[in-house]
């Protein structure tokens, strides 16, 4: 039984529109036969996924299905965990990021990340956003000012913070902190933005703001978002991948996944039978 119908989900139409454009879009991330182990645990099994640019790709699945591990593999953040082993290929713009010659610092400059819990630095709002450009060598105060303003505007938080850029970011609310983290991510001028359950620690209104933001950002960026919230996936994504026990069960246009899933397990999950 499909959980979302035309009536309950007004965004389905939007999803349909963007789906038509899909054919012309380039693939930004192509994952081929990806396997990942944490010690003995086989966390990702033969993942094959082609993710398009300028789309929102949602990754859903129950806890422990490997969705967070997968998104952290896309910017090799997963390597911070000791005893991780990876095999297979992840082509980012046709280059294998798992190749030794691919420097993670390079990768993470093109691929920004927004985390589950808002994690601003205990610095001023300005310094938080300027952090990325500074580590990449921008020293000119004027340019930094411009980047900070542009990024904060891009994350739809400029009006709320423009008068207190020098105050500590910890004074912001949780929702504002998360949008600040999105601004901080925009400041490195990424190509792809990875979001690991960005709204799971936020209240409904802040969640809505972040969701709207994601819709705006996809004009310019490719967004891959892990979410626990199926309604959220249905609302904001163009394509959805359903993960279960480290495998991709189904990957298709979001409205297809939520209306006519081809796998029984996908249907069971989205109708709330487990997870």
């Amino acid at each position: 039984m499909p959980v979302m119908t035309e009536k309950t989900n007004p965004n389905t139409k939007i999803a349909n529109v963007s789906q038509k454009a899909t054919e012309n879009k380039k693939v930004v991330y192509n994952t081929k036969d990806l396997n990942l182990w944490y010690g003995e645990g086989h966390a990702l099994k033969n993942i094959n996924l082609a993710i398009n640019e300028n789309e929102v790709t949602a990754i859903i699945g129950p806890s422990g299905c490997g969705k967070s591990t997968y998104i952290k593999t896309l910017n090799r953040m997963v390597e911070l965990v000791p005893s991780v082993r990876i095999s297979g290929e992840i082509l980012y713009r046709e280059r294998n990021i798992l190749d030794k010659s691919f420097k993670v610092e390079d990768l993470r400059t093109s691929v920004g990340m927004v985390f589950q819990k808002p994690n601003p630095f205990p610095k001023s709002i300005y310094e938080n956003v300027a952090y990325g450009p500074k580590i990449h060598g921008i020293r000119d105060k004027k340019i930094l000012d411009e980047i900070v303003e542009k990024s904060l505007r891009g994350a739809a938080i400029w009006d709320e913070v423009k008068d207190r850029l020098n105050q500590n970011a910890y004074g912001l609310s949780g929702g504002q902190q998360q949008r600040l983290c999105i601004a901080r991510c925009l400041a490195i001028e990424p190509d792809v933005i990875l979001m690991d359950e960005p709204t799971s620690a936020l209240d409904p209104i802040s969640t809505l703001k972040v969701e709207e933001l994601v819709q705006e950002l996809k004009e310019e960026f490719s967004i891959i978002i892990v979410t626990h919230n199926m309604q959220q996936a249905a609302r904001i994504s163009d394509k959805t991948a359903f993960f279960l026990n480290g495998e991709v069960i189904e990957f298709a246009e979001t409205d297809k996944i939520f209306s006519t899933p081809s796998d029984k397990r996908t249907e069971d999950y989205i109708t709330g039978r487990f997870g």
């Binding site: 990340m113 985390f115 990325g132 580590i135 983290c181 901080r184």
Partner: protein, 294 residues
């Protein structure tokens, strides 16, 4: 049938409550013992020494005549010693802590190093004195000067700084590092811009506590060979020197010959305690002011 007989319970209640209040009394007395001894000690020291403290005592050079003797040389010597100990322990201690926490793979070798640093903290200070005498004073031919004493003292308090810095670095939440790495920062950029600023209060607290330990240590410097009666005031780190606790030590053992030396020792103890108390207060202030708020 009930297993607990309320009659029996009631009968034994008295002795249970007695044991209860007895336990409380014993632990209170144990606490009191240390406190009383400390108060007696401070009282004795103040009674013997307070009247001897005046500007002349602080500003005069050392002398065999108790009326003329002052601790200016020991104060300056202590200052120079700290000027060596502080930067050396800071660089070595924080460096070691950064390596162990941020770079070293968590494995046998790193836990071996960590265990040994803890062991090092337990090595008696006189052993460090022998090390200082052999390596710095003799092998490097520095003699018993400030630099030799400072390096010895730095090694002695190094474990304190390493352990405190490690704890401070470990307390920096992982999500801050992830935020930095996630923007393409290198490890060193992350350590420099995120980890160290967040860990700094903890590191400083450890450093001050380490210095206050160094200020009170006697044995290693006696082993290195600090003269019992040094009249010149040191001008730099290559001069012979003496420090407050060593002065206390010599005056105390010589008080059998000249009774007033005991008063001089007591007066010096008062000064040393004031310095230590001030340093520990600063450490506590820093710790409270920057209490972590993640």
């Amino acid at each position: 049938m009930k297993y607990i007989d309320s009659e029996q319970v009631h009968k034994k209640m008295g002795s249970r409550l007695l044991a209860n209040s007895l336990a409380k009394t014993i632990f209170f007395l144990a606490t009191l013992f240390g406190l009383v001894v400390l108060i007696v000690l401070i009282y004795r020291v103040l009674a013997d020494g307070l009247s001897w403290i005046n500007m002349d005592f602080l500003m005069n050079r050392l002398s065999t005549d108790p009326e003329k003797a002052g601790i200016w040389g020991a104060i300056v010597g202590t200052f120079w010693l700290m000027l060596v100990v502080a930067p050396v322990t800071m660089v070595l201690g924080v460096g070691t802590a950064i390596y162990l926490e941020e770079y070293a793979a968590k494995g046998r070798i790193s836990s071996f190093i960590k265990t040994n640093i803890s062991n090092l903290a337990g090595v008696p200070s006189v052993v460090f004195g022998i090390l200082g005498l052999t390596v710095f004073a003799r092998a490097l031919d520095l003699g018993s000067v400030v630099l030799a004493g400072g390096l010895t003292m730095a090694l002695l308090v190094l474990p304190v700084v390493v352990v405190a810095s490690q704890e401070a670095i470990r307390a920096v939440p992982q999500f801050l590092r992830e935020a930095s790495y996630g923007m393409g920062a290198t490890k060193w950029q992350t350590i420099k811009n995120v980890v160290l600023p967040a860990a700094l209060p903890g590191i400083l607290t450890g450093l001050i506590l380490a210095l206050s330990r160094a200020i009170g240590e006697t044995a290693p410097l006696v082993v290195i060979g600090i003269p019992a009666l040094l009249i010149p005031v040191p001008d730099g780190i290559f001069d012979k020197f003496t420090i407050l606790p060593v002065q206390i030590y010599y005056w105390t053992i010589d008080s059998a010959l000249v009774a007033e030396y005991a008063n001089l020792a007591a007066a010096t103890i008062v000064i040393l305690l004031i310095v230590l108390f001030a340093m520990n207060s600063i450490a506590i202030l820093i710790r409270n002011k920057f209490q972590k708020r993640y």
